[in-house]
Amino acid sequence: MERTSFDIVVVGGGAAGLRTAIAAAEADPELTIALVSKVYPMRSHTVSAEGGTAAVLRDYDSFELHALDTIKGSDFLADQDAVEFFVARCPEEIIRLEHWGCPWSRDEDGRVSQRAFGGMSVKRTVYAADKVGFHILHTLFQTSMKYDRIHRFDEYFVTSLIVDGGACAGVVAMNLRGGTMVAIQGKATILATGGCGRVYEFTTNGFIKTGDGMALAYRAGVPLKDMEMVQFHPTCLPGTGILITEAARGEGGYLVNKDGERYMQRYLPSKMELGPRDILSRAMIQEMKAGRAFEGPYGLYMGLDLRHLGAKKINERIPMVRELVEKYMGLDPIHELIPVRPGQHYIMGGVSTNGKGETTLPGLYAVGETACVSINGANRLGSNSLSECLVFGAACGLAAAGFAKKKASYPRGAAAREALKKEEARVFDGVLGRERAKETVAGLRVEMQQLMERDVGIFREESALADACGMLGKMRDRFAAVGLADKDRVFNTELTAVLELDFMLDVALAIAHSARNRRESRGAHSRTDFPQRDDANYLKHTLAFRTDGPPRIDYVPVTVTKWQPVERKY
């Protein structure tokens, strides 16, 4: 009989989840930890992060400067106390990873190298060539094998939280291989399931990024914060959406239009290609609208020019860029322009937490892209997200360990048995029992993705947002008619896709309504009908609460410590 009660249950096996689990294991040798993931942990989407992870490591840099860059990048929507906490802990986390064997690229003197990145005013981004996420993930996963007390539940899909007496008491999960539901009880539960990029049609995110943790918390009454803040990365390969790292520009790459002009001189002459992602993505769309884009089989695109960098630099610093462009575009960036266009990449918003990962539900935590602390505000700077997973993973692991230690007994079984029964009925008798008819998971999913792309994309305005809110509400209703052809219990990926779509519809509704309610432009949220930032009315975080109808929107103030909001000028 497999153990099903733990001190700590971590949902998600990427950088944030693994860092949390290791921190909890190190905090107390008595604690038992469950690591529950819908994929083998090394498949987690952290693996696709490319360019680097930020930390102040050299004399030319300072915490003050990292904090200011982050806050300015966030268009002053970040909580400044959280940012100060964050920047001060990035160095120790980078060194921690270094001690655990992460193959950081090195300078000639044997020290960890750092490169330039968008919106960072000095070279601050630590890297391992351009496979940074891959190396961080495998280093953390392999290091986690040191701890027998980290008990993995690989390929278990969490369908619901167990809430008992106003506190979270673990999760109900579907064992994909066994085709059964299990209750995994925990004194503390941490959601670390990453982002929700698959809500959009054109995204750098992997297929597994379906906002599971956000929807799980949202359904348990926890608000989602700043969900309108969606990041579009300027350099994605047309067709597939595969990411070409910002490091390509950090190492000196140019963005050019069809006339060969470095068009960023028109939009951001002080930073050029190393501006923040929100500004670069908007500039790209404006160039396209001005008729200065290339046209290809997958629509308009711009050129990323690395030719002047030379073969040696490309092969040493950004080998994966070359590998990806050769494989997926049939082009060699040493000799040819890389076609790029903006695509959904990250969400600044997420489960509302404080700096320890605590949510409004006692015993429930969130961390990484799933969470919104917020250090990223309205626009995240490249290379702050991996550091965020590490810093807040460590903080959250410690906090959860302390919380679990204080609770003498495991959650009582009654609530778990009840939740399990409910989920068995909902998923196996309900969803799985629905006969396949007109509505299919693939059909409804692509409709939602195209709607979000069209109406809740880089530029937004009232009529499109109103349309999106209305259409998503209808899709929410139509979801009840989605039937399944696969009736098996074992590894039913049609069933998991339906449950994921269910989560994504909740998340999409929160994004669209939060965007419609913020009648200003700030960071990545760009309203053509309200082009100015409006601090008088909107220097605050959006909170979306789930109801039986549309989400209820509320606001809470932003924490300002020493950087008074000023116009965001570069």
Binding site: V47, S48, I95, E98, S105, K146, V441
Partner: protein, 248 residues
């Protein structure tokens, strides 16, 4: 991009329906920029939602989507239909692993083997936790190649030794053991070599070399295993000549 059709012959196995694995054919519209994974997703979304396979990143780094394509272990996201299409494309689950359903196989055995080679830095004294350890570019270069393993399991599917002796530690776990042994920050080489010098260790390998042929990341596990055989021998000799000494 000319539209035409291509036939996918996909091996199906559904444990709840009983019976042996069978092939099912699907005809799908084809463009010359489609990879095998695109074909599988077309089938899943438009023809047969019961077809079961794993995938995520679709950029050759998460290691989820391996399958035997026309008899060769490959990442389906990195294999263009145009390169393998000879009338039909045959897709089967990776060889040598227990099949869970259709193209989904069980890798748990690999994770136990990976854990058995101590795949993390081992040190007696971690020193100053606030300071990075010095490692020169050439030190990183010494283990970089082995550190690129994405655990996609193509090497195990290609390995005839693993096919006939499933206890064999295998190519990827061996390469990762060498990765840590070559890391200047590590002090765990001796224990890893001891593990690899057992009945299920590197001596099982007969140097067929197929693992390195199919590796999508040029990790070259075959060479790693030969190096480990040499290091294990050196360790054995040293222990005979200098009892109590340890490998570095």
């Amino acid at each position: 991009m000319a539209a035409s059709d291509v036939v996918f012959r996909v091996k199906r196995y559904r444990p709840e329906s009983g019976g042996r694995p069978t092939f099912q054919e699907y005809t799908i519209p084809y463009r010359n920029d489609m990879v095998v994974l695109d074909g599988l997703n077309y089938i899943k979304d438009h023809i047969d939602p019961t077809l079961t396979f794993r995938w995520s990143c679709r950029m050759g780094i998460c290691g989820s989507c391996g399958a035997d394509v026309n008899g060769q272990p490959r990442l389906t996201c990195g294999t263009y239909i145009r390169d393998v299409h000879k009338g039909a494309v045959t897709v089967e689950p990776l060889s040598n692993f227990p099949i869970l359903k259709d193209l989904v196989v069980d890798f748990d055995d690999f994770l136990r083997k990976l854990a058995s080679v101590t795949p993390y830095i081992v040190r007696k004294d971690w020193g100053d936790l606030t300071k990075e350890y010095v490692q020169y570019p050439e030190d990183v270069e010494a283990y970089r190649q082995q550190s690129l393993c994405i655990n996609c399991m193509l090497c195990y599917a290609a390995c005839p030794v693993f096919g006939s002796s499933p206890e064999f530690v295998g190519p990827a776990a061996s390469a990762l053991a060498l990765r840590y042994n070559r890391d200047t920050r590590d002090e765990g080489a001796d224990a890893r070599l001891a593990r690899l010098n057992t009945r299920t260790g590197v001596w099982e390998c007969t140097f067929v070399g197929e693992c390195s042929v199919v590796c999508p990341k040029d990790v070259d596990p075959a060479a790693a295993i030969q190096t480990l055989k040499f290091l294990a021998t050196m360790r054995h000799m040293r222990r005979l000549l200098m009892p109590g000494s340890s490998s570095r």
